[in-house]
């Protein structure tokens, strides 16, 4: 397959090369044909245009375009044809083939080649066939799409010719669709039109839908029925794609929530305290990315593409260390007073915010996207941007990694033990204060790498964390503590629900509805979806 593809590619390149050589070499053969345009009346001009089109040489395109616009003149002295543009009292001449300037002349020295409406139509289809034959496939596609939009029946003939010569499947499809659009607008017989309707229904996008519904309204008989059927089919497929797109947006929002909330869930699970400074850990991670990129820009610009890979471990370490410091410095003194911990960490978050604001200023910092993070591609009717896709992948990796740490390492074992029953774990010889500090560091570190990811899709400012903190709480409250799956399910559910509500309710109202939903949900399951069972919970 790929061999075939590359072969075709080579073939194209050869055609392209020979095409351009042809343009250069045969300028002499084209030139007389163009000069012919100066002679005779409309009828002659028509056959001259057709003769030019018959060469299939794209180099003639500018001359024909100028002719259509009435900008093609001939010089009275020698009968040579030029594109002329009025500049004050004189005319500037341009060679229609080489497009080089060819001097200036007075008004009396040249004469316009006249065109009428029927001639313009001939020129348009000649142009269409020239561009449809162009060596560059993108030009051919653009030409076909232009015909599709204009639904110009005059293009049918040119399209038929081009289709006969076309080897690229992709271009072919576009041309067929253009032809179908043109056919439906022509007065060809019904069988042709039915075929065209079929082609358009297979196309299945919004353009085809609007075309078909137009046809449905204007035509009658079998075509009307077929068009109605076709548009219904397209509507259905578009609805399906829309759903898929919404799910995708939802998952992407969900993974952002997951990244922001997962660290919070661990510390809340183990220590029973809500870390209000968690959002600031995310913010610090984003600022680490910014600093790393600045350093790379000034010292090693070649490494910019990999800046995120340097930023990840650094963000983890920075946020993690700050987390450990907070735990050792403040939180451990508040053991057993969760509400006061909440207040103290809120105070810490204010301090961290103001620190960052003092160092970097209150404005947004610009964090660049590496090339592999920017751009988008399409699947069917869905657009998928690379940055969202990588964030989903990244969130899943973080989740899997964390799962591994918790399930397969001694540290994870101790952590789970402390989560389930602190006193019992302590009696078994686990150093719970140490576990507390490490867990807090781990949770904060993960917030830091979440910040690296979020720096790619959000503004990096001192308020970055604030925007996520309430949403992260909601995820944790909804998913329940002590179980990472709860966080995953919680984040994804909230993300998807949010995105599905948005089209009906608008972004803000959707968010409000989700909050109300969670408030009600908590009534039913006060400890979240995946609550821990056992006596230890009801202390």
């Amino acid at each position: 397959m790929s061999v075939l593809k590359s072969f075709i590619l080579i073939l194209f390149m050869m055609i392209g090369l020979s095409g351009s050589a042809f343009a250069q070499g045969d300028a002499e053969t084209l030139r007389p044909l163009i000069n012919e345009l100066a002679k005779g009346k409309y009828a002659e001009t028509k056959s001259q245009v057709e003769a030019i089109a018959a060469t299939g040489n794209p180099a003639a395109t500018p001359a024909l375009e100028a002719l259509g616009k009435g900008a093609l003149f001939y010089r009275k002295s020698d009968g040579d044809v030029f594109i002329a543009e009025k500049a004050g009292k004189i005319y500037k001449l341009t060679d229609p083939l080489t497009l080089e300037a060819a001097g200036e002349v007075g008004k009396r020295d040249i004469k316009k080649i006249k065109v009428n409406n029927s001639l313009r139509r001939v020129i348009r289809s000649a142009l269409g066939s020239l561009t449809l034959m162009a060596p560059d496939p993108t030009v051919r596609i653009a030409a076909a799409e232009a015909i599709f939009k204009a639904q110009d029946p005059a293009g049918i003939e040119a399209l038929d010719l081009a289709l006969a010569a076309e080897v690229d499947d992709e271009v072919r499809t576009v041309m067929e669709q253009a032809r179908a659009a043109a056919v439906l607008n022509s007065d060809l017989e019904e069988a042709e039109k039915l075929g065209a309707v079929q082609t358009l229904s297979d196309m299945g996008n919004r353009d085809a839908l609007s075309l078909l519904s137009g046809i449905e309204a204007s035509s009658e008989g079998a075509v009307k029925v077929a068009a109605a059927k076709g548009s219904k089919k397209i509507e259905k497929s578009i609805a399906a794609w829309d759903t898929a797109q919404n799910v995708w947006y939802g998952l992407s929002l969900g993974s952002v929530l997951l990244l922001a909330a997962i660290g919070l869930a661990i510390t809340f699970g183990v220590m029973g305290v809500i870390n209000m400074a968690h959002g600031e850990m995310v913010m610090i991670g984003a600022y680490v990315t910014f600093v790393v990129q600045e350093l790379i820009r000034t010292s090693a610009p070649g490494l910019f593409e990999y800046s995120l890979f340097f930023a990840l471990p650094l963000a983890f370490l920075t946020s993690g260390l700050i987390g450990v410091a907070i735990e050792r410095g403040v939180i451990r003194w508040l053991y057993g007073r969760p509400l006061e911990t909440l207040l103290a960490t809120w105070g810490i978050s204010l301090i961290l915010q103001q620190t960052i604001r003092s160092i970097f200023g209150p404005t947004n910092q610009e964090v660049g996207n590496p090339d592999w993070m920017s751009g988008a591609f399409e699947i069917g009717q869905m657009t998928i941007t690379y940055n969202r896709m990588w964030i989903i992948v990244f969130a899943m990796l973080v989740f899997a990694g964390l799962m591994l740490v918790l399930k397969k390492t001694p540290f994870g074992l101790y952590t789970r033990a402390v989560t389930q029953n602190r006193k019992m774990a302590a009696s078994m010889g686990i150093r719970t204060p140490w576990i507390d500090a490490m867990t807090f560091g781990l949770g904060s570190g993960i917030a830091g790498i979440a910040g690296v990811a979020l720096s790619q899709i959000d503004n990096v400012s001192p308020n970055l964390g604030q925007g996520y903190i309430i949403d992260s709480f909601m995820v944790v409250v909804f998913g329940g503590v002590g179980n990472l799956w709860g966080t995953l399910v919680g984040a994804m559910t909230l993300g998807v629900v949010n995105k599905f509500l948005e089209p009906y309710a608008g972004a803000v109202l959707a968010k409000i509805l989700v909050l109300v939903f969670i408030i009600l949900f908590i009534q039913k399951r006060p400890r979240g979806l995946f609550a821990q069972k056992g006596r230890a919970v009801e202390a």
């Binding site: 809340f268 029973g272 305290v273 809500i274 403040v330 003194w333 508040l334 007073r337 969760p338 509400l339 006061e340 911990t341 909440l342 207040l343 103290a344 809120w346 105070g347 810490i348 978050s349 204010l350 301090i351 915010q353 103001q354 620190t355 604001r357 003092s358 309430i470 709480f473 909601m474 409250v477 803000v508 109202l509 968010k511 409000i512 909050l515 109300v516 969670i518 408030i519 009600l520 908590i522 009534q523 039913k524 006060p526 400890r527 009801e538 202390a539």
Partner: protein, 414 residues
């Protein structure tokens, strides 16, 4: 012996508080209206408004102290009730503008004309009457709190979960009020007020009047809070705070007690908001910001929770320093506030009043035991003092009564 002493001390504290409040209520407006401008005792209208604002904050803090200090419900959403009360008052003030608005529409507020609305939404009806608006100031926050509390307390949402949910509540309201189609002025909120009950809101007499009204509202709510907390009901609240499950097992319907005090507290917050709005001249969705609610909690924590007086003290103290800092050292304010959160929770868990009265009690105790040792045999009689107003209201404890309200040392269970 000891307990009765403590009781009187508490009364004295309330009495002192009310006396100071009464003095301020009289002196500040007098200083503004009667003392000539040049005099050192003149109080500028700006200062009157500022202090009036502090008093409404103090009332809000009082409301938070009632639920947090005495019932262990840490509300991170009390600013929502405050703002709702403020919006109710703001709507009344908007309707009073009449044809003096920019667009001169006799019925519709400016922002509605601007949005091309043709008629007043139904929920704006009635707000042209003061009594109706005043009723809504209490009813709307009360009703919201009742519904919210009904659900939350019945399903035993407690501790950190409850705090987060209250925060979500105010956040949701914040988002909602930002929307233009809610009909509350969107981002800009309600402002450009002209008069209240026929008096110009800008006039210094009106300002002084509003100041006095705030002080009186604070005093009345203080007395209500005290009579609640010193009644048997108050004891049960403290029991709920310290050991909710045990209280439930003793046969009390814990959720009813919580719901009652929660709703009362929300209503007080609403009143505070209603008094706040005409003084600052604007109400916008920013008042719903979760950060505001958390700040209220720190006022209470600094002053000392479960003391009522402490909440007022903390609110005034912190807001005064905020005014001062943001004018002189704006950079430092967030550091100071953040540091305050940490320092108070770490080193001053009982707040100023709590720590102070602990020290006082310890001192008295030492003195008593010293005297006992000296062999007087007779414990010193407590200095007599005039029964304060508060003592009269906060009565219903049998004179023999046992333990003092443990309000002085709040340690939320859990």
């Amino acid at each position: 012996m000891m307990t009765s002493f403590l009781f009187r001390a508490m009364d004295a504290r309330a009495g002192i508080f009310l006396a100071i409040l009464a003095a301020v209520t009289i002196l500040v407006p007098m200083g503004n209206l009667l003392v000539p401008e040049g005099s050192p005792f003149h109080v500028s209208t700006y200062a009157v408004t500022l202090m009036g604002k502090y008093l409404t904050y103090a009332l809000l803090a009082l409301a938070v102290d009632l639920v947090w200090g005495y019932c262990g419900i840490l509300s991170l959403g009390h600013a929502a009730f405050f703002a709702l009360g403020g919006y109710a008052m703001g709507m009344y003030l908007m309707r009073q503008i009449g044809t003096r608005g920019v667009y001169g529409d006799p019925i519709l507020p400016d922002f509605m004309v601007f949005l091309n609305w043709q008629e007043l939404p139904w929920y704006w009806f009635g707000f042209d009457m003061f009594w109706f608006a005043a009723l809504m100031v209490v009813l709307v926050p009360g009703l919201l709190a009742f519904i919210f509390g009904w659900f939350a307390f019945r399903s035993r949402v407690t501790g950190v979960y409850l705090s987060i949910i209250t925060q979500a509540l105010t956040y949701a309201l914040l988002l909602a009020f930002f929307r233009n189609d809610m009909g509350f002025g969107g981002n800009n909120g309600l402002t450009d007020f002209k008069d209240i009950l026929g008096f110009d809101v800008q006039a210094s007499t009106t300002r002084a009047g509003l100041f006095a009204a705030s002080a009186i509202a604070l005093a009345v709510c203080f007395l209500i809070c005290r009579s609640i907390t010193r009644s048997k009901l108050g004891k049960i609240l403290v029991a709920v705070r310290d050991a909710e499950s045990r209280t439930r097992f003793l046969g009390y319907r814990v959720e009813h007690y919580k719901l009652f005090v929660w709703t009362i507290s929300a209503m007080m917050a609403g009143i505070a908001g209603a008094l706040y709005v005409p003084q600052v001249g604007i109400i916008n969705p920013g008042e719903f910001a979760p950060a505001n609610s958390i700040e209220v909690v720190i006022w209470v924590a600094v002053g000392g929770r479960g003391t009522l007086v402490g909440a007022v003290l903390g609110a005034v103290l912190i807001n005064f320093s905020k005014t001062w800092f943001t004018a002189v050292l704006p950079e430092v304010w967030l550091f100071a506030l953040g540091g305050l959160f940490v320092v108070v929770t770490l080193f001053l868990p009982k707040g100023i009043i709590g720590t102070f009265s602990d020290g006082w009690t310890a001192l008295r105790q030492r003195k008593i035991s010293a005297e006992a040792e000296a062999g007087s045999g007779e414990p010193p009689s407590v200095p007599p003092h005039s029964p304060s107003a508060a003592a009269n209201v906060a009565k219903p404890v049998a004179p023999s009564k046992p333990p003092a309200p443990s309000g002085a040392e709040p340690q939320p269970a859990e």
